[in-house]
Symmetry: C2
Subunit: 389 residues, 2 copies
């Protein structure tokens, strides 16, 4: 066994109706919360409900609902100024990845100064250090996909250069995440599908990652198993709370997995698309996922065989090679079952954009490329992009 | 899915040779360490090695090697006075459960005052509160069994009443645990067997615990799988570092499992024996384990079937009932393979002691009894004790 580390400082409170505990949780961290709420749940009453729970525990809330998808760092910086002026001593992110990542980045800027973009991992600048004074973060996911409730990541977009990059730091693990599957019930089928597929991509990418370790592999395989069984049910009947619960838990597990092992080529190739075309994150991953897996399974037959077994027990009698091949077929079937049929073309990508995209991949997502099980360079990435348009 | 919580704030550094990182880790917590070292490794040079690593990072060490098996709380209190006088700002526990639990209890007393016994969970006293000033704890296990490196537990003995009880508090999760399987290589076969079986009991007891949750079940099953495959190899050839590594990791996983779900009847019945007769912990668990499982499997066939599958894949074609029955047979086989053949009689227990033992169980280990999958009362426990003598 090689050396590895386990680090998961997030306290996760999971369960139907657990949202009601947000007040008692927040009370432990201060008196005034910067409450970042996803606009897509603005009218659901969840914001008011949370404010009520906070008030009951004498915690004031500064509501911020100007969250943008693929959060632009300059908007985040404005939000952080507001949070600082108003004396917020914690942040609460409620929503999908954009809301939670906005909350995380606000916690960073309030605690350590400067601009949120100073803290993203890139090869073309010096990454700023986070101070101990980073505000405590509470995450309340309302989608089941991003896993941000369980990670040390916050993904931001730079609108000037139309590129995405990520703050990666243990200080932005949420202190507490409340994962209440009831909050995901109102998601429409298409959003359930794309966010759920994002979770599956986290589980699979961390599993095949060359930096995977025994804990990331264990939780990733369990996440793959749960998503394969329950995501179609959550998409086709959003009221199915058992399916919603399993998918929500699987998404959190997949977050644990990427916190330990990171993502690989599909995230490296998908993220630049959402930066450049403001396309939805889950969709950009789904657009290239199967093609990249088809291209890559040969590099680690055992792992792809294990993925197939997690997705469908009935493959157990096949050979390792057959199982590994089968994993691709099972992925195609799942995408069909959840009615997620997209390509990079869907988001307006054209062949002439490819060289620029490849450049962005190699500048902003080099770590994901290096961790991919099949070695790829500029040319291979270019070819894969073209095949996915 | 029911509600549950995940909480695992321990940073685990796992791997052969990782002991060398203890200095850099300790540096992050202060200037002077209370270094509790198990006497059974006193002459191995590990203590000197650790002092060297600490010195290199300007961390002073106060070596304390008067650790007793089943640590008596009054000795722990003396150690804590020493640590306080000497101005230690962290504790490092190196050894088996006794050393790590001593270190944890010293951290409690230095940080919160009073006596260590004030903090143990019992129904016959008011449990004292731990303060935020509990010293940071670093754990370095040299056996693979206790799981204390991954738990919020510290088990102490009260020599006046010859009873054991446990401090249970999130503040005594180690900040960092260094699990270096090389440290376990020198354990003789019998100690490898009894400590390894203790780890297996943690995994199985947490798995069948009525308070188990998706995360404790996941890590418990993986631990059972690893221990079934690798413990016999670690016992029969202690130099087999791969087997030692798998067993060490499995023991840590089992610690994660009991941190989330706790133990059940075997621990409730075994612990009073080690308190009363100063018997080794692992042995007292092994002495009653199979009999209790035989008595209990009927209460949850699915779970015992899953245990059998984790222990030996070849059972997969059997029915659920058959698999559940098979789990008992597989446990007997494993005990034979690791040459662990003990009964309560081995430690001097006699029939006339049983009523007293039952009293202790119901006073000090009520939570374990209540969490057992098959409901038992005074009479059943009495009968089980008699059958295990």
């Amino acid at each position: 066994m090689s050396s590895f580390q386990v680090r998961f400082p997030v306290q996760v409170i999971f369960g139907k109706g657990e949202l009601r505990r947000v007040g008692e949780v927040a009370k432990g961290f201060g008196k005034k919360a910067f409450l970042a709420i996803d606009p897509f749940i603005k009218n659901s009453g969840v914001g008011e409900e949370i404010k009520g729970y906070l008030k009951r525990e004498q915690v004031e809330a500064l509501v911020y609902d100007e969250i943008r998808p693929n959060p632009p760092y300059d908007k985040v910086d404005e939000a952080a100024s507001l949070a600082k002026e108003e004396g917020c001593d914690m942040v609460i992110g409620v929503g999908g990845g954009s809301a939670i990542d906005t909350a995380k980045a606000v916690a960073v800027v309030v605690g350590s100064g400067g601009s949120s973009w100073d803290y993203v991992q890139r090869t073309d600048h010096q990454v700023a250090q986070l101070k101990e004074t980073t505000l405590p973060i509470i995450a309340v996911p309302t989608t089941a996909g991003t896993g941000s409730e369980a990670t040390l990541y916050a993904v931001l977009t730079n609108p000037k250069i139309k590129e995405k990059s990520t703050i990666i730091n243990p200080r932005i693990f949420p202190k507490v995440s409340i994962v209440d599957p009831e909050l995901t019930v109102s998601m429409p089928p298409a959003l359930t599908a794309s966010t759920g597929f994002d979770a599956l991509s986290h589980a699979i990418e961390s599993y095949i990652n060359v930096n995977s370790n025994p804990i990331s592999e264990l939780v990733a395989l369990d996440s793959i198993k749960l998503l394969s069984r329950y995501l179609p049910g959550a998409v086709t009947n959003g009221e199915n709370i058992e399916a919603r619960s399993k998918v929500a838990w699987a998404a959190t597990l997949a977050g644990v997995a990427i916190s330990h092992a990171g993502t690989v080529l599909p995230h490296a190739m998908g993220q630049p698309i959402s930066g450049l075309y403001d396309a939805p994150h889950g969709g950009t991953i789904a657009a290239c996922f199967v093609r990249i897996m088809e291209y890559s399974f040969i590099s680690n037959l055992e792992k792809f065989a294990a993925i197939a077994e997690a997705m469908d027990e009935s493959v157990s009698t096949l050979s390792v090679r057959q199982k590994a091949e089968k994993s691709i077929e099972l992925l195609k079937r799942l995408l069909k079952d959840i009615n997620l049929n997209v390509s990079f073309g869907t988001y307006g990508v054209q062949r002439e954009d490819v060289p620029k995209l490849v450049d962005i991949v190699l500048k902003g997502f080099k770590q994901d490329v290096d961790a991919h099980p099949r070695k790829v360079g500029k040319e291979e990435i270019e070819k894969l992009y073209c095949e996915c348009i």
